[in-house]
């Protein structure tokens, strides 16, 4: 049985794979497709499937269209790429920080029971490897599910999310604490450490560690809240 909605969602998925089209472009082309389909099905000699096929042919081949849209949307395409790069960078840094923070207890535990640095570093490495394994497995699951179409809805939503006007704000908000942490934790030791006594140095390191731990936990939380907050606003037309 022919289902227009199903065919359109397949068509939308295909067009989504080209970065040349913005969400507004896709909505506009979809409206065109539907208008053409409505006209064609009013001719009694065509089945719905035939009408849809013709409508798709008339709108043009997607790679050829992408070429033309590419020229018009060049600026926004590059902004989008740049933002993905930033997001990727942020994501990896967060993972690194998370793994580090979770591996520390294992290392300190080892340090408590053993005098040897070897055991400590071995345990630290081992727990890092296990944690990275978990992360890799999680990513693998996400990718596989996307492939099998189970997470199609959330996948499309994430694409729509990337297309919002708010994306610049998100990236800046997400990066701000990150940059601050990096700046403070690198600059502060250079300025203070040399003038500190042994005791003060210990306290300083302890404070620094707590501060980093806190931010490592707060950063993803802040990101999540930002994402949910922005999702309250209607996305521009990418259904």
């Amino acid at each position: 049985m022919f289902s227009l909605e199903e065919e359109i969602s397949i068509w939308r998925r295909t067009i989504n794979e080209h970065e040349a089209f913005t969400s507004d472009d896709i909505a506009e082309l979809e409206d065109h497709l539907r208008a053409e389909f409505d006209i064609l099905t009013s001719a009694p000699s065509l089945t719905e499937a035939e009408a849809f096929w013709i409508a798709c042919r008339r709108i043009g081949s997607l790679p050829e269209l992408a070429l033309e849209f590419n020229k018009v949307n060049r600026k926004s395409i590059w902004i989008g790429r740049f933002q993905w790069m930033l997001l990727g960078y942020l994501f990896v840094s967060l993972l690194l920080k998370g793994v580090h923070v979770l591996s520390l207890p294992a290392a300190s535990l080892a340090a408590t029971f053993s005098e040897s640095g070897l055991v400590t570093s071995a345990l630290y490495t081992l727990s890092s490897v296990i944690l990275w394994g978990c992360v890799a497995y999680g990513l693998y699951l996400v990718v596989m599910r996307n492939k099998s179409g189970m997470m199609q809805a959330s996948y499309q939503r994430s694409i729509a999310f990337v297309h919002t006007k708010h994306k610049a704000i998100i990236i800046i908000l997400a990066l701000l604490p990150f940059i601050l942490v990096e700046l403070i934790s690198r600059v502060a030791p250079i300025i203070f450490v040399r003038s500190l006594s042994m005791m003060e140095f210990g306290q300083f390191s302890y404070g620094m560690a707590l501060y980093q731990l806190g931010l490592s936990a707060l950063l993803p939380l802040g990101l999540l809240i930002t994402v949910f907050w922005l999702n309250q606003y209607p996305l521009p037309l990418k259904r």
Partner: protein, 111 residues
């Protein structure tokens, strides 16, 4: 059938003129109108109209607005703005020059 270069070159004055006449229109309607008026002689690959519309919008000749159409779907409507009207005047003059020149050359033998 018109050749590709001429189709591409004439798309701008065609779109501007249709919008000047209609006041407000959307992609599908513009294509249908071109097809009808040219009696099928000007054939656009439908999707290709939209990058042209967007370029004209970026040039500041058109303004656009998303509205709900009579079918209940969201649809992007375009209209000519002041700068577009000026550009249309200019285009008219240029196309008329070409037309007049060719008419003079062909006038006796062709018509």
């Amino acid at each position: 059938m018109l050749n590709k270069e001429l189709v591409a070159a004439s798309s701008k004055p065609l779109i501007l003129s249709i919008l000047a006449q209609q006041g407000e229109s959307y992609g599908y309607e513009i294509i249908q109108q071109v097809r009808t008026l040219s009696e099928g002689q000007i054939e656009w690959s439908d999707g290709m109209l939209y990058p042209v519309l967007h370029r004209l919008e970026k040039e500041g000749l058109l303004s656009s607005e998303w509205k709900t159409s009579e079918t209940g779907r969201r649809r992007k409507y375009y209209r000519l703005n002041q700068q577009g009207e000026l550009r249309l005047k200019d285009e008219k003059q240029q196309w008329n020059t070409v037309h007049n020149t060719l008419s003079k050359l062909w006038g006796t033998s062709y018509v």
